[in-house]
Amino acid sequence: MDNVAIHESWKTSFSELAPGLLLFARQWVRSGADAEDIVQEAFVKFWRRNHNIDNRALLYATVRSIALDLIRRDSRRARREAEAYSEADQAVEPQFEIANESQRLVGNAVDRLPHEQREVLVMKIWNDLTFAEIAEALGISQNTAASRYRYALAALKKDLRPQ
């Protein structure tokens, strides 16, 4: 990759990864514009350093790092995001393409998940990461990642299909 600026392969990779990356970034910010800022900075840095695009754990760790740094840099933003988290069922902007009422309920249920569970769920369902990749990106064990995923699914099932 001699000159990434004229290299067109990034568009292919970015087109495939961007929706999942944006959804992942939205775990920390409630604004789509902020999520795009995070993804842009993370992807440019990742690509510029010639990292292997298949190293998704590193890519998602980069997104997470930049998102957390963004929150730390702006305390007012952090307070605002914290308030948004406390009102998780009142998402500022939608995160999903809602086609029907059922999907709207699913999206809302995902929003109500505890953050650590939602984070793993997003990486697994909408980014197709393995538990090994999730564990590496989040700095947790694979067992922990798998457990959080199961807890998330159980919570969603209970929320969407109460018996």
């Binding site: 600026a5 961007a18 944006l22 992807f43 590193l58 393409e97 809602i98 369902i125």
Partner: protein, 169 residues
């Protein structure tokens, strides 16, 4: 299939929002502006392989330095140690020129463990009496090869008879 497969499929049917066209333009500009991007603050967690490389490089350099130090000592060891040994060893000049296979006397001991007075007697053809003493000893002779440090020890019993003249009164 697990208990959540239906739910997982339902979740996957909900698609995340696509990125805006503006985001593609911004990423393209960011990639094009490589020089400017270098000035961005480095907040990205470095990949493990980079950390390992630096760590490995440091360990390798340390090991190389230790090897060089030992190699330096080993190279100088023969040149310095040989004259030092020769100068401080009060070895006899014979030893220094002796071939490595030659042993030199290192000591001799004689232990008398029995002495008996056997009385007076007249030796044949003598008019003067003599007292005969018989002594039993063990003699030990030692040789040492200064070149190799090997030693040779010979020990044997011996018996000695002495005739001491007795002066008359």
């Amino acid at each position: 299939m697990n208990d959540f497969s239906e739910l997982e499929n339902e979740l996957k049917n909900v698609r995340p929002l696509p990125p805006s066209a503006k985001l593609f333009t911004r990423v393209e500009q960011g990639l094009a502006n490589v020089a400017g991007a270098d000035a961005l603050p480095d907040k990205v967690i470095r990949p493990d392989r980079f950390r390992i490389n630096w760590l490995s490089m440091g360990i390798a350099l340390g090991a190389a330095a230790v090897l060089l130090i030992f190699a330096h000592i080993d190279l100088k060891h023969p040149a310095k140690s040989v004259p030092a040994v020769v100068s401080i060893t009060p070895a006899p000049s014979v030893a220094s020129i002796a071939p490595t296979s030659q042993f030199i006397p290192a000591g001799a001991t004689q232990v008398v463990y029995n002495m008996r007075d056997e009385g007076l007697l007249f030796p044949s053809g003598s008019a003067q009496p003599v007292r005969r003493w018989r002594s039993q000893t063990r003699e030990t002779l030692q040789w040492r090869n200064p070149a190799t440090g090997a030693s040779l020890r010979v020990s044997y019993p011996s018996e000695q008879v002495e005739l001491i003249p007795v002066s008359g009164q």
